[in-house]
């Protein structure tokens, strides 16, 4: 993708300090993501994917380098970089509606009337097919539904970048497939810039414009970047035998399971 940099990582590094001992998790991460692009970050568990996402989200401050969004340095959390958390992170005392509304009230409290905010919330809930469950509390809906609400809440902030940390990781295969299709639909409709973390090769190939493969930690960095040249809309059934699809899949598998099988500094 030749898109100009919308979100860019410049020499991002991260070390965690425990007492006098510092452990370097990320080193020299350089990446440019274009507007409207869907980028997946894939890598073995513990390599530092969540750390990278949290740096973009502003929840963590990188120890070296910077992240820029539209040329601005990212240094605090904010609704322009909404996060879909792996464990949904809904507030259990609020309803489905309330969980989205709290974000909308905060983000659009000054610019939209109460009625507009209500419509906005309902529109996002419809987008993830949760409108009919709006009055339920999180513990009354399934795991997949909770994740849908998490996505609705993030979308409702109208973020410049949608950050998703293994959003489907805790779901069964069928629910996951449903949600992946929903996310593809939404991406087609809204054209968000998305950065998604995953450890699922098929998911990465199916959803992404580009797949960023990370080496193993400690001191993980970007090993390879693979462009997925598949036309959209993509349908999982037709793709199963598509040579581009199988080729991408094989490339990611080869990276993960042969070249970066063992924890070693690489590439």
């Amino acid at each position: 993708m030749g898109a100009k940099a919308y979100l860019s990582f410049e020499q991002v590094g991260m070390s965690f300090r425990r007492g006098t001992h510092a452990s370097e998790v990320l080193r020299d991460v350089d990446l440019r993501i274009g507007e409207g692009e869907y980028v997946s970050i894939i890598g073995h568990s513990g390599c530092g994917k969540s750390t990278l996402l949290n740096i973009v989200g502003g929840l963590l401050k990188s120890t070296t380098g910077e992240v820029f969004l539209e040329g601005q340095v990212v240094d605090a959390p904010g609704p322009d970089r909404a996060i879909v958390f792996q464990n949904h992170s809904l507030l259990p005392w609020l309803t489905v509606y309330g969980n989205v509304r709290i974000a909308v009230d905060k983000v659009f409290g000054g610019t939209k009337s109460s009625k507009e905010r209500h419509d906005w919330v309902m529109h996002k809930l419809e987008l993830v097919q949760m409108a009919q469950h709006k009055d339920k509390r999180p513990h009354e809906v399934s795991g997949g539904m909770k994740q849908r609400v998490g996505i609705a809440r993030a979308l409702a902030m109208q973020p410049k970048v949608l950050l998703m940390d293994e959003p489907f990781g805790a779901l069964d295969a069928l629910t996951r497939a449903h949600l992946q299709d929903s996310v593809m639909d939404i991406h087609a409709k809204l054209g968000n810039t998305v950065m998604m973390i995953t450890h699922d090769v098929d998911e990465a190939v199916l959803l992404s414009d580009r797949i960023v493969m990370m080496t193993n930690g400690p001191s993980a960095t970007i090993g390879e970047v693979l462009a997925v040249d598949l036309p959209r809309p993509r349908r999982r059934l037709e793709l199963a035998t598509d040579p581009e699809y199988t080729g991408c899949r094989a490339a990611v598998m080869a990276f993960l399971y042969s070249r970066h099988k063992l924890p070693s500094r690489a590439a």
Partner: protein, 300 residues
């Protein structure tokens, strides 16, 4: 972490109704009648109510037998009832001074508890939230709270009288100082237990400190707060009765002391019963309030 957690916010175990339901379900083919459909509900209620009533009756019989002989120092229940019948049937009389019906004494004691306990709740929750914000405040203050909370209520009374030079505020202060510790301790523990996830969500939507307090801290901490309040209200009811014995005036505590001085043992026994029942109701009231306020909070 040291928590005063004699009472858990968790739901109470339900009555054993499974057996009763099984009986009804086993009826073949016939549409169950109203009585049959209500059966399980009634038997559930009676399973709760009947055993305590039986035990109570047995205890009364034993008591009657033990104290019925002439020369017994304590009156048997039958004598308590005849002695105090007027007092029991007319709780609203008022002959001026401290010669009032049970209602007025209890109401006065409750009003003191209400003021002292309300202060303790507000100040305790506020302090608990502050202490819970910081690991250092927690480390520094927790041992002090743990020591202070073991001081018996009455031990505060002389100090309190010295400070206020007046019985009424002293009694309220004793309530306050007795019931505030479990509120502070439980609230601060609750604040520390707020999951990082909620903090992350709040950070992304940029809640201010004030919004975070009302929209995240309080709802997330409510079950802990009510655990503290429930322990606190029990302690304050214990404390007020003791404090009133010393400060005098209208109040169920001094009523007992006065009855003792005039050897009205039967009155004491009736007053004790009332105190127990009111204490029980207070506990249930806070528990029910907590249940309503925190519905859905604990389940995630």
């Amino acid at each position: 972490m040291p928590v005063v957690q004699a009472l858990k916010p968790a739901a109470e175990a339900g009555p054993p109704i499974a057996a009763a339901e099984a009986d009804v379900v086993a009826l073949p083919l016939k549409r169950p009648s109203l009585a049959e459909r209500c059966g399980p509900v009634f038997s559930a209620a009676s399973a709760r109510v009947v055993p305590p009533l039986i035990v109570l009756a047995l205890l009364l019989v034993v008591w009657e037998l033990l104290c019925a002989q002439a020369g017994s120092r304590l009156p048997p229940p039958s004598k308590v009832l005849t002695d105090t019948w007027d007092f029991i049937v007319d709780p609203f009389y008022d002959n001026g001074g401290i010669d009032k019906g049970a209602f007025w004494h209890i109401a006065r004691s409750l009003s003191r508890v209400a003021v002292g306990f309300a202060l303790a709740a507000v100040v305790g929750i506020a302090l608990g939230v502050l202490v819970g914000q910081s690991t250092w405040a927690m480390r520094g203050l927790d041992p002090i709270f743990q020591v202070l909370r073991t001081i018996p209520p009455l031990a505060w009374l002389p100090l309190s009288l010295a400070g206020f030079r007046d019985a009424q505020p002293s009694a309220i202060f004793v309530i306050f100082i007795t019931s505030i510790w479990p509120v502070i301790i439980n609230t601060s523990v609750g604040v520390r237990q707020i999951p990082q996830d909620y903090r992350n969500v709040a950070a992304v939507i940029r809640l201010s400190w004030y919004e975070f307090f009302w929209k995240i801290t309080l709802p997330a901490t409510v079950p802990y707060i009510f655990t503290g309040l429930r322990i606190g209200v029990g302690l304050s009811w214990l404390a007020i009765v003791a404090a009133e014995m010393l400060i005098g005036g209208v109040g169920i505590g001094f009523f007992i002391w006065d009855a003792w001085n005039s050897s009205r043992i039967s009155d004491i026994i009736v007053a004790l019963t009332y105190i127990g029942l009111v204490g029980f109701l207070l506990d249930r009231l806070i528990a029910a309030l907590g249940h309503v306020v925190s519905r859905g909070t604990s389940a995630s």
